[in-house]
């Protein structure tokens, strides 16, 4: 294993959170981005080929060492660590709306969901999954919400582009949108 790979492994192990490429570049002033990427590849290869219990995963705009899926049940059974608490459907609906329409105000979320969302919004904010990213133009300059890196981490996504595209969903709004055009 190269010295840089060793360093990366140590850094990813120590950080215990997704570490961005920029942060990894700071480990060795002499290393180029290409070299860091190659070293990451080598580390990934080492874990995959060697039958290790952990793997290097790219998520939340960074890299993180995670345990492998097949080990999850035993680890949870032994109560060594707990799986994070699941979010309610109401929270997930709100999160989904924010993810797709960000920056989005409370009013628009409530319009689609048909319920008041103050409580759910506060919960999502407390868990660091969404945050106020801007203020709207209209009356009272409403707070506009957006998702945070913690949201990507929650879903294990590299970036927002990994969310399913709305036009790929089985329930598409296309027929309705096309209606006026058909006239």
């Amino acid at each position: 294993m190269r010295a840089l790979t060793k360093l990366l492994e140590a850094a990813l192990f120590a950080a215990a959170r997704p570490v961005t490429l920029d942060e990894l570049l700071g480990l060795d002033p002499g290393a180029t981005e290409e070299e860091v990427r190659a070293a990451l590849g080598e580390l990934q290869g080492t874990y995959d080929a060697g039958g290790h219990g952990v793997e290097v995963v790219e998520l939340a705009e960074g890299f993180q060492i995670l345990t492998r899926r097949e080990c999850a049940e035993a680890i949870a059974q032994a109560q060594l660590v707990a799986r994070p608490r699941r979010l309610s459907v109401a929270a997930m609906e709100t999160l989904a709306l924010i993810a797709y329409r960000q920056p989005v105000g409370r009013g628009e979320i409530e319009e689609v969901r048909g319920v008041a969302v103050d409580g759910v919004l506060r919960l999502l904010q407390e868990r660091g999954l969404v945050d106020v990213v801007a203020r709207g133009e209209g009356l009272g300059r409403p707070l506009l919400y957006g998702t945070t890196p913690a949201f990507l981490e929650l879903l294990g996504l590299r970036d927002l582009k990994e969310l399913p595209r709305l036009e790929d969903l089985s329930v598409a709004l296309k027929p309705l949108a096309e209606e006026p055009a058909a006239e």
Binding site: V112, G114, L173
Partner: protein, 244 residues
């Protein structure tokens, strides 16, 4: 508005008591359960079932559900109105509802995907995942001095007219208490303070007894003692008091 007690349908239908995330969720549940085409909802039937469901689920007081119920009834009425002869001009009153339902259904599909993703991610642990902290108490409220003063003002306004404190005379009966102590000591050489107080002493009873006791002790009529810390207070007959 009268709530129908039973759904107007010949098909038996049952709503499981489960958590709905909102009126659209409940509506979608009813529609899916009966395999109804979203774009052609039998609005009368669904409106009645919706009302029956919010009744059964005791969601009656949730404004959002009632709002939806009212909305459904309005569409039902609009559907009953005679259509203009020129059917081209007729706009389906359900169009807006269909749009909202489809939009909501789309979000639900994304939610399903997100739940699967989150579940998969939760199966891969990071290093030293700290077990999630229990529900935290709500964070301290941050208010400005002005807000605080305004709130105080509102409260003060709510107060009824100033109540002048009335003093109720509750005379202390030290003499009566002294008599009881002497009577008790006539029979026995030593009594505990608690015995003299009876079952439910009032505050005046306690004070009367204490004053009487201190007075008697001062003049040497009784002796006061306590065997150990926080133990019962013992009142003993003083030798000089035997004559009394």
């Amino acid at each position: 508005m009268t709530l129908p007690t039973a759904p107007v349908t010949d098909r038996p239908f049952l709503v499981q008591l489960e958590e709905f995330s909102g009126p659209l969720d409940l509506l979608l549940h009813l529609i899916r359960e009966q395999e109804i085409e979203i774009t052609d909802i039998p609005i009368g039937q669904i409106a009645d079932q919706f009302l029956a469901a919010i009744h059964a689920l005791k969601l009656n007081d949730a404004a959002e559900y009632l709002e939806m119920a009212a909305y459904l009834l309005r569409i039902k009425i609009l559907m009953l109105l005679p259509r203009p002869a020129d059917s081209e001009e007729w706009e389906d009153p359900r169009a807006e509802l269909v749009r909202r339902l489809l939009e909501y259904e789309q979000i639900r599909e994304v939610v399903d995907w997100m739940v699967r993703q989150a579940g998969d991610r939760a199966d891969r642990f990071p290093r030293g995942l700290v077990p999630e902290a229990p529900e935290l108490p709500p964070p301290p409220v941050v208010v400005s001095l002005e807000e605080l003063l305004k709130a105080a003002e509102r409260l003060v306004e709510l107060l009824p007219a100033r109540v002048v404190h009335r003093v109720v005379p509750r005379p202390l009966d030290t003499e009566g208490a002294a008599r009881r102590i002497r009577e008790a000591l006539r029979e026995r050489e030593q009594v505990e303070l608690g015995e003299l107080l009876g079952e439910r002493p009032s505050i005046t009873d306690v004070i009367s007894l204490l004053i009487a006791l201190l007075e008697l002790a001062r003049v040497g009529a009784v002796g006061l003692g306590q065997a150990d810390a926080f133990g019962p207070i013992l009142i003993t007959r003083a030798s000089t008091d035997q004559a009394a």
